[in-house]
Symmetry: C2
Subunit: 438 residues, 2 copies
């Protein structure tokens, strides 16, 4: 899906809107039955979905081949084509992912707080599913499987709008998932798609307040901002990561280089990859030539501010691609082998720069000084703050959630990686014996 697909600010067609609302209401009714299912029943459903995906992987791969062909002919770039591919091997990997979700602890029913009031009323705050979760995402067919399995495991229904380019693949995948749901005695409207409505489907989802409980956009910054700005349904903002690493004057440079290399190059184009390197002036002369050399060897283009440029340029590093940064750089998520480099006069300048320019995803400090670390972790206003560790660890799988629906960069409801627990809300239950209020 290109951003334009969902960037609909115009009015939604009344018939599409009513169709999407009815779909969401049917999903809500089906969800009430799923909510009552115990964990065993939900796990069996997931295993059945995984088996069905394996058994009918050829159907999905055939549909995907058609999507791939059309996307190729329309000139889709290689990176997007790769994300669109859902061949038999990738379907098998997705099926394994579903089996893994089946092994995760079920958050539903967990007692978050529980205590007796002075009058004897026994209060429990219990985790319950949110209800109907809407997901608008780009053309990555594996997301269809991930979202379906996470929603079902956490007792939620899902209304999906995948990217236009993956419509055949998603339809084939959903057919299999829905067949498995129905043959397990649940209502197949638990997982549904608005793809038949095309672009208008996404617009209708954003309008469907009171029908869809929460909307999660997943994809590029353009898609996410379009949903955030236009949705009447509560949104969880995900994703964009203008991620910083700050090397303090107390930093251990032997830790710094491997962490920076890992954060920048271990995987490019992901939201937890580092985009900016801030270095304290006291260690800039000693550290920047080493860092620049390591990054140059990994083919990272450096976009440096004046001071950093001077120091790196003077080091005459072989094969380096060094450019002067402009003001735009500090707000740019490159998603490429490119890194902004800046020398700062103090810890507080680094913190100020980060809080001004970061998207609030992940930042890391390389430091040994206790007070600097305490100050950085307290003052930096991001979902995740790492100390002497790679920013690439911000991930639901790494955090032990087993799987993730995305990484929230907002402060409401969930912040950081969103796993099964973040797909729940709570309900208070008060067990009384006739108490009345005085």
């Amino acid at each position: 899906m290109t951003n334009q697909d969902n960037d609909q600010t115009g009015r939604v067609d009344a018939q599409v809107f009513s169709g999407v609302c009815m779909m969401a209401d049917a999903a809500a009714r089906a969800q009430r039955a799923l909510e009552q299912a115990n964990t065993e029943a939900k796990n069996e459903l997931l295993l059945a979905i995984a088996d069905a995906l394996d058994a009918r992987a050829d159907d999905i791969a055939a549909a995907n081949a058609q999507d791939m062909q059309e996307a190729f002919e329309s000139g889709m770039d290689e990176g997007k084509l790769d994300r669109l591919r859902f061949d038999v091997d990738r379907v098998a990997a997705s099926a394994q992912g579903v089996r893994h979700v089946a092994t995760l602890p079920d958050p539903v029913g967990q007692v978050v707080r529980g205590y007796n009031l002075p009058n004897g009323l026994r209060l429990n705050q219990v985790r319950v599913p949110i209800g109907v979760i809407g997901m608008i995402y780009e053309a990555r067919p594996n997301v269809t499987v991930d979202v379906a399995s996470l929603c079902l495991k956490s007792g939620n229904a899902a209304i999906l709008r995948g990217g236009h380019a993956a419509e055949r693949t998603n339809a084939a995948t959903l057919r299999i998932i829905r067949d498995a749901i129905a043959s397990h005695g649940f209502d197949q409207t638990l997982v549904n798609t608005v793809d038949d409505y095309g672009r208008q489907g996404a617009t209708a989802m954003m309008e469907a307040r009171g029908h869809i409980d929460v909307l999660i956009p997943r994809g590029g910054a353009g898609l996410i901002q379009a949903v955030v700005r236009n949705s009447k349904v509560p949104v969880i903002e995900t994703g964009a990561g203008n991620v910083h690493i700050y090397v303090d004057r107390s930093g251990d440079l032997n830790k710094a280089i491997p962490i920076i290399l890992n954060a920048k190059t271990q995987r490019v184009g992901v939201c937890n990859a580092a985009e900016k390197l801030l270095v304290h002036r006291d260690v800039a002369e000693a550290f920047l030539p080493l860092a620049a050399q390591a990054l140059a060897e990994a083919n990272v283009v450096l976009r440096a501010d004046e001071r950093a440029y001077g120091i790196i340029d003077a080091a005459n590093i072989d094969g380096i691609d060094l450019e002067q940064a402009d003001e735009q750089d500090w707000d740019t998520e490159y998603l490429a082998l490119k890194m902004g480099v800046k020398v700062v006069d103090s810890l507080d300048e680094a913190i100020g720069h980060i809080n001004m320019h970061s998207t609030g995803h992940t930042e890391s400090i390389i430091a040994e000084d206790y007070s600097a670390i305490e100050r950085f972790t307290r003052l930096v206003d991001s979902a995740v703050v790492m100390v002497n560790a790679s920013t690439r660890f911000t991930d639901g799988g790494v955090f032990g959630f087993g799987a993730e629906l995305g990484i929230s960069t907002q402060k409401m409801h969930a912040r950081g990686p969103m796993g099964l627990q973040e797909m729940t809300t709570t309900k208070w239950i008060g067990y009384g014996t006739g108490q009345v209020r005085q």
Copy 2:
């Protein structure tokens, strides 16, 4: 403030918008300093505010007398006039409330989850303030004090829009609060008001996404819906309570009558007061005449469906005010000495009726049957479900939160009474020793 005051769907004036954004940005900068203050410092600030309110209560009362006079002359009804009153006694009560907030546990810094990853990275998920909280509320000056104290204690800044009718009172109150903040070394922009911008101020707050972190409307259904529908800032929906009590066929009728009376009449016009009574048909004949008599003695008008009407009417209760309900009744929050009464054929009909018509605030079941209670508490989709207890217990004070900012009826972020903890988000901090991702 009438609902119309904030029911602005038109464009906001550019100058007002930029003024409100600058105000919020100043509040955000001040908030970063407050966030670093320890609990002792915040408590001292609260105690100073309480003392200042006591010392200058006459100023507030004088301003309030002017507001009261103007409101009276413009024909404000008695209930609203009473809520607008902020005389010396009420200011003293508010000051005591601030002192109580000072005694409450500080949620900031609480570790929600903490564990080591297999690679040794030590992960802590820690509560932190949300940032800048916007509050749009009706003409109840005590809310100004409540919100300021709760926001400051939880490390947040507050941007307020109180009702037009209370503008002089709120200005006098805020002057005192802000003086106390400044004389305690904090920035007085921590608590600010858009009242100078009049109605446009509220509209600008709703547009100020990225400047205000969360917007909480508090007041009547019209105000809340206007904010929910028009805000680009994430909103926490509060308040409206179409609250049900269901008397199961297994219900102990000796518990039922006091609970119903308490829930309906202990305080009228509050969101946790019961509005509807559903009675299982098997106990309707025995129970409804008793309940109707008790309610009639308390001057409650009964709006009954056909079966309930027949049973109650046949009982010839002295002085009863019995009317036939129409379909609108089931969706109406009376906020008055009035109650809808309906006979249902089954537990599941009661649950279905509630999930169809409730605002999701609080419901109560009167029952002794274990399975009926389990089914009701699991299937009813409301923030709070009571068993054999009055619905009036849904309250932050009663729940032990000490004070509340409102009662959330939505599923995102917070559900039920919102205390200090609900005014926080979390931040993940990963303490490493050089870890990189494989």
